[in-house]
Amino acid sequence: MAEDLLVVDDVKKHFPVTRGIIFQKQVGAVKAVDGVSFSVKSGETLGIVGESGCGKSTLARCIMRLFDITDGTIVFDGRDITKLSRTNMRPIRREMMMIFQDPYASLNPRKRVGQIVGEALEVNKVGTASETKRRVQELLEVVGLNPEHYNRFPHEFSGGQRQRIGVARALAINPKLIVCDEPVSALDVSVQAQILNLLEDLQQDFGLTYIFIAHDLNVVRHISDRVLVMYLGKVVELAPKLELYEQPKHPYTGALLSAVPIADPERGRARQPIVLEGDVPSPLNPPSACNFHPRCPRFQAGHCDVVDPPLYPFGDGHIAACHYPLERWPLAADEFRKPAAGHPPAEPTPVS
């Protein structure tokens, strides 16, 4: 078994909401990430899915230490990086990189490709100018771009090519962990496939570890080894890929899976989507106890809105935070709404 490269323990990120101009008074907090724990093994890909506003991107930025977290600990490669100062953080930054969503906004339009990709090398004082140039050209080739394009500007490239530049930049100083925040959601399907294949090849060649954030469940299934589902800043389910897609336990995961259109007319039309009512509630004022309860088709009054469900284990590293987990999958709509009697477990055995 490979070692844990990253351990995230009970991480919280609350953004204060203040009132007043001179005498600022905190009147509340947006609980963007609210007690998230997971670990990532060396060489694996952890997918993170959830609707917009569920805290996926905030979590990514917390891991990268781009935000200071409110509470919890982050251990990277055996070192607690939660409270490291900027100077102490610097050598660790070389080992974790990020690929951003929007290839149009994440590249400086006034810099040449060579400068963009080589910046990390320069900042970390790796090699001389000519070595840097050679390394950059090598990287461009690795990601499938023409090394001759070293002196071009980002606007001369298409969306897919720009995302390749983003990948080359992330690879520049041989990181161990790459956090990909929606790396393909702005791309067309054919280009999306090129980038996904590239990421897989690079993982094999360089033994990379990925945290892959996306809202497209198809993409996440394709690339991940394990998948974490978030809702309103909390983990609702975490499981190995096949477990999650074939035996989801949390009703939210079930609803997400059933909502994805299938690119096959016959099966697509036979699918019975469980349509969730309403929108994701505001993280400023989240619902009591299980924060999915106002939208949950299996909601049981007096339980779900009173007792916050812990993450119950379902074997094989599969955990889900629900008092009334799905019995099997797929479930017909009426079965989905009526949890079988006998649940929940009489003696809850939450994961410590």
Binding site: E51, S52, S158, G159, G160, Q161, D188, V189, S190, V191, Q192, A193, Q194, L196, N197, E200, H215, D216, L217, N218, V219, R221, H222, I223, Y245, A255, L256, L257, S258, A259, V260, P261, I262, A263, D264, P265, E266, R267, G268, R269, R271, P273, V275, L276, D279
Partner: protein
């Protein structure tokens, strides 16, 4: 007679760099109560086709030819006054981005009332009643009160519902939805697609859905048009397109799709980028990216013709049918292992 019949539609834009052939000879028809899906990558001409039909292109720099017969009337030669009468009344459009297609300084109610009063001789009170009725029809809770809210007070999914309500104001015969769910989360997407299907059943309108999501097309369309570089690559009833795809570009699209229900070893990728429409390649426009390219493809642009045993299934490719049947079967085997 079809509700909308488009014949050899061409839309060219004059730019400083030359003429961009954004739509180059597209033909299709839509029957009442049916849904046509148009798929293709960005820049393939899907949206421009629909904007041209609606007469929403800037007339100054646009050269249009061909015809678009709506109930027998050619929209391309209709005057702007007549077009204004038709738009919003007999046909309506739902735009992609609900965040930017609503006016932020007017309340939702005001914007809906305007749409009603433009086409109907009703009092403001009557128009408001109609607006509230529509907001209810698209599933906005407390419609009476929410009509006085401004766009920023609605979430993305709710705004898209408002857009749909606005398009439905005068019970249009034809509804054009340009990427109606692209900006939305899956759960919201499911709500909106369900809403569109229910409304179609209720009002019997024809719908054109423009999308790049093959899942949405598979589930909602009756016929599908696959566009590549301003031309139609393949056109077929939806089951045919997914069961017996006949164009290498369609294979590329289907193969590059990650699937929720099947584990693919590796995605098929279409190499390269879509071509520039300023200087499209000679011959078949897909040939620089096509794995089956032959000499002929580089010189002669393949016409859109029916396949020999199925007149409803059109495709534009020089490859022989035996090879295509074999390749299509191979593709389906890998991508839909569980289904067959």
């Amino acid at each position: 007679m079809a509700l909308l019949e488009v014949n050899d539609l061409k839309t060219y834009f004059q730019t400083d760099d030359g003429i961009v052939k954004a739509v180059d000879g597209v033909s299709f028809s839509v029957e009442k109560g049916k849904t046509l899906g148009i798929v293709g990558e960005s820049g393939s001409g899907k949206s421009v086709t629909c904007l041209t039909i609606m007469g929403l292109n800037d007339r100054k720099n646009t050269i249009t030819s061909g015809e678009a017969l709506f109930n027998g009337e050619n929209l391309l030669t209709a005057g702007s006054r007549r077009l204004r009468e038709i738009r919003g009344n007999d046909m309506a459009m739902i735009f992609q981005d609900p965040m930017t297609s609503l006016n932020p300084v007017h309340s939702i109610g005001t914007q809906l009332i305007e749409a009603v009063q433009l086409h109907r001789d009703v009092s403001k009170k009557g128009a408001r009643a109609r607006a509230v009725e529509l907001l209810k029809a698209v599933g906005i809770p407390r419609a009476e009160r929410r009509a006085d809210d401004y766009p920023h007070q609605f979430s993305g999914g709710m705004r898209q519902r408002v857009m749909i309500a606005m398009a439905l104001v005068n019970d249009p015969d034809l509804l054009i939805a340009d990427e109606p769910t692209t900006a939305l989360d899956v759960t919201t997407q499911a709500q909106i697609m369900l809403l569109l299907t229910n409304l179609q059943e209720e009002f019997g309108s024809a719908i054109i859905v423009i999308t790049h999501d093959l899942g949405v097309v598979a589930e909602s369309a009756d016929d599908v048009l696959v566009m590549y570089a301003a031309e139609v690559a393949e056109q077929a009833p939806v089951e045919k397109l997914f069961r017996r795809p006949f164009h290498p570009y369609t294979w590329g699209l289907l193969g590059s799709l990650p699937r929720l229900d099947t584990d693919l070893e590796r995605l098929v990728q279409i190499p390269g980028q879509p071509p520039s429409l300023l200087r499209p390649p000679n011959g078949c426009r897909f040939h620089p990216r096509c794995p089956y390219v032959m000499d002929k493809c580089k010189q002669i642009d393949p016409p859109l013709v029916p396949i020999s045993d199925d007149p409803a299934h059109l495709q534009a490719c020089h490859l022989d049918e035996t090879t295509k049947d074999r390749e299509a079967a191979k593709l389906l085997e890998t991508t839909m292992a569980q289904a067959i």
